[in-house]
Symmetry: C2
Subunit: 282 residues, 2 copies
């Protein structure tokens, strides 16, 4: 966690001096109260240094968010957090309360909402809605529904979102977090768009994964998500050329394969057109 | 082509003696009249041996189809077939006529319908509809619309299919042939399903590719397609377990990576549960 604290310090110092044009959040996972206190240890003196007024709703750190992660199933909660879902919600209630008091944005993940490595496909969507409602009542700014195993299908994603709606949860409070393990991330994104969701997680070059699913791939690639959304006529504000470059760079640094289909194809096509231009120039 | 003829002979001898329970076609590309005559040289004596009656519509070889491939753009037609689109349609008219006469099923591909490596994204859907109509008039049993470059997006796939409908082409005469180069094969399949298409090409472990697009991946994996369709509640009649095994076997034989996300994840999960069972047994 020392590394994570160093990164947090560096980002705050860099970005709060020169705020980026688009709203970018750097998200830090706080698994427990101790994690929160470590993070807070960094955030609090900076906040004082900025003389943030106690009477405004303005965020103390507009580019930082803290994140807690609950689980949709008891088995995954025990494996991942070593406690029951109910115990984790109590713990998060404390952390979320402290974060709101400190005017720090806080996101709450719910893992394995569409399939659990221990309990299988049939995760109860009503239970997911209850957990989401509890986290929102605690004060979470956003709920990210995680298809951690990538087991989600189109009909089950639709059922989950309909259940959330029936439970009174607003689509603008939700983000979808799809893993592309079974290649279903974009079809599930399409269904979520139809339900009014507009926030989607992705990772460059499809980095990441799930330690509990051998052979599994990571989050859907940011390149694939951007290509898909732009193809639908949406403006993501992201430059696919630059994104593909970063994907190539980071996978070389980490010595892992580039898991983004769009990233690989985009780079391949660009290399082809560059070599054609060289041939024509020669 | 000698190999291809040997395979054709073997398949005919094996399968016409013991017909498979489901309709399975073995497809053989016939690029020109000479290719057709080579294929026909094998098919014709077998037909005579079977004493196929001249007066029935029954296929002489129910598990064999021949295939011609046209192109949606002039540039791709010149590169691939060394002639204009119009010239290729004349050539195919002859081949299709002879195939129908011999009571052999014939499929016609149209390549690069949603993006051409030489002419770019904007392939004219009206031109695709004209080419399809011409091939159907020649007697083709089915038209496979090939997104050879994988450049298709949801709105452009919808526009293409709407244009086909407006031109009077029936959805049941079409098959979609998506490459997953940009990871859009399944979202484009979803749109095609909504338009009434029910025939989709795929390749096991995502084998194949397009020699004209460096960095490109092959067809969408059969495993991914089956998982997606079954997830929608459709009955594909395909056993995903067996499919994943074949994908693992063939990629090992060919020493290429398994490009099917579902194939890899399915095998990974199966290995995990096998090792858990062993642990419990021990």
């Amino acid at each position: 966690m020392a590394d994570s604290e160093d990164i947090m310090k560096h980002l705050i110092e860099t970005h709060e001096a020169n705020p980026p044009p688009n709203p970018i959040y750097y998200s830090f996972l706080v698994p427990n109260l101790r994690g929160f206190e470590n993070a807070f240890h960094i955030l609090e003196p900076l906040q004082v240094a900025k003389n943030a007024s106690d009477t405004t709703d303005e965020l103390a750190h507009p580019n930082i968010e803290l994140a807690v992660f609950a689980s949709a199933t008891e088995a995954f909660s025990q494996k991942n957090l070593n406690c029951s879902v109910a115990e984790s919600l109590q713990r998060f209630d404390q952390i979320i309360g402290k974060a709101k008091q400190a005017k720090v944005r806080i996101r709450a993940y719910i893992s394995v909402v569409l399939g659990c490595p221990y309990e299988g496909y049939d995760v109860n969507p009503h239970r997911v809605a209850e957990i989401a409602a509890s986290l929102l009542e605690s004060g979470a700014d956003e709920i990210a529904l995680g298809d951690t195993t990538g087991m989600g299908t189109v009909p089950r994603t639709a059922t989950l979102l309909n259940t959330m709606k029936s439970a009174g949860i607003r689509m603008e409070d939700l983000a979808m977090h799809f893993h592309d393990t079974y290649g279903q991330a974009l079809v599930n994104t399409a269904v979520s768009l139809e339900h009014g969701i507009r926030t989607f997680d992705a990772s460059i070059a499809g980095l990441g994964g799930c330690p509990f699913s051998p052979g599994a791939t990571g989050n859907v690639g940011t390149e694939d998500m951007v290509y898909f959304l732009e193809g639908l006529g949406m403006d993501t504000g992201v430059d696919l050329n630059g994104l593909a470059d970063v994907g190539e760079w980071i996978t070389e640094e980490l010595d892992v394969p580039n898991a983004s289909r769009v990233g690989k194809a985009w780079l391949g096509r660009r290399k082809l057109s560059e070599s054609q231009m060289r041939e024509q120039g020669a």
